[in-house]
Subunit: 310 residues, 2 copies
């Protein structure tokens, strides 16, 4: 993508997560003009420190009266201001109506229009589920792929599987897959033998995914990472990939995937590649997107606001 | 049970685990004459230190030519001597034939006969599973209950579900249930809200067990411990019991229990009570035994040795 630094900023898009802060200057046509990131996640911002942290990082990008949309944990109870979850089903209209507008004083000229995008919730009357930030990525992925009905999966510490119908998220489920993997590989009895920094082993990963489909469940299969090592049937190197296959395979097992499905994966290449492989072992197809989905989502949301206002 | 300290020791029974060492002086009729325990688990014993630790604790109990049977992790690779796993199906005959006899010098008179009981393994050609120490408790429980065919369950850090047919363990499965609970309650995102030391809450526990039966799997359901708290649908107090119900419920879910089954539970009262409640929610019955199963198992094994020798 050729970047024209002279093009005017139509939107400052910010993804303010737990441990990192990323931003992009975006043109009216969606072109990303400039990106930056800083290790200033919400957990590192002192109480009351959000306005000045924001000015430090993005004050220079915001023209008088300019628009800034912020997604992610900045809208959580521990963030800048709490933006209450928007219940599913939710599309651009519902998200736009629930934006939490901030009172950010102007440096000079008209005050900028700065809002925090709410997260989504579902099943809030029984056993709730929540996401914050992923909803923007899903909307961005819809825009980038043209898919408005389907399954969107965001692998990570807390993986999200969202069902989208006609451009609206109708429901989703969180899986603590990445966190379980970290707990097991770092703090469990398996940590003694497993080499967490060993290179990814595709064969061992596939073994884990297949193993997860057999009866017994994760509580049982996780122990096989110990016994395979005890009986010298697997080296400490591939063991980490096997365990990764076990937990990702367990996530997929519960989905009862139809084989003609194509899933949209959104995440880092390292993770989406593993999920794509695991999905293929289940006979399911996938296509993958990265961080561009966040900027596309915030840009599309800004567009829907302008449309609503016109 | 009335204890006659003048009765003669027929067997010194020892359960040498990872973190603790327990022993009992047992009469020919199975009466436990005396018990002792020490915080001298195998991990605390320095290399080469097993013979002297053993003499310190049990030398005074062993008559010249007396018999001592040791079960548990003392027979593991990190223990006194490695007693290779005995493959299933296994009964007294198979265990007795695989005892690892130790060369323990006599203090005075004939040398004592000291042996380590091997653990059991199953599926050793494909995905192996193992136990060490639990096999003795299962054999003891068979003797105490008179049940020679059924399901024997040993809840704990690594729970074991064993299938017993005509007095022999035909197979078993390990579940890392207790370890998963510890990881989630101490090291995961749930640790922030959950009060691990709160009193046991039967209602929340039952909610967890029932929740585990719904679609989604443990990776998904564990996240509900966070969202129920986030939406103020559960207090931090009962949350620990809810999580306990989720993991024990997940273990039970994978068993596809028939409702007319009666399971024999062997373990600490705190744990067997939780399992009994969870089993009842699945429509299954249970009876519970405690540490007496270990002494009964080693005594029965000693009896089978004497019988074999006669």
């Amino acid at each position: 993508m050729s970047v024209d630094t002279k093009q005017e900023t139509a939107l400052v898009a910010v993804d303010w997560g737990t441990s990192s802060l990323r931003g992009a200057r975006i043109a009216a046509d969606g072109t990303v003009l400039e990106e930056k990131s800083a290790p200033r996640g919400i957990l590192s911002v002192p109480a009351g420190g959000f306005p000045s942290a924001f000015q430090d990082e993005f004050g220079g990008w915001l023209a008088p009266g300019g628009l800034c949309l912020i997604s992610g944990m900045a809208g959580s109870r521990q963030g800048w201001v709490e933006a209450p979850y928007c219940p599913c089903p939710a599309g651009f209209a519902e998200l736009g109506a629930k934006l939490a507008w901030l009172d950010v004083p102007s440096q000079d000229g008209a005050s900028p229009r700065v809002a925090i995008v709410p997260g989504l919730c579902c099943n809030q009357d029984t056993t709730p589920d929540v996401m914050r930030g992923e909803e923007v990525q899903i909307f961005g992925a819809m825009r980038l792929t043209g898919i408005n009905t389907g399954s969107f999966v965001l692998p990570g510490t807390h993986s999200k599987w969202a069902t989208v119908e006609h451009g609206r998220v109708t429901g989703f489920r969180t899986y603590m897959t990445g966190e379980f993997y970290a707990l097991l590989s770092q703090h469990s009895i398996l940590a003694r033998t497993l080499k967490a920094d060993a290179p990814f082993d595709e064969t061992a990963f596939a073994q884990g995914v297949q193993r997860a489909r057999e009866p017994g469940g994760l509580l049982h299969h996780a122990f096989s990472a110990r016994t395979l090592s005890l009986f010298e049937k697997m080296e400490p190197g591939p063991l980490a990939s096997y365990l990764s296959g076990l937990v990702i395979g367990e996530e997929l097992r519960t989905r009862h995937l139809e084989t003609d499905i194509e899933v949209v994966l959104i995440g880092s290449p390292a993770l989406t590649q593993r999920y794509a492989q695991a999905l293929a072992l289940h006979g399911a197809g996938s296509r993958s997107l990265g961080s561009e989905a966040t900027w596309a989502g915030l840009h599309a949301l800004a567009g829907s606001l302008a449309q609503g206002a016109s």
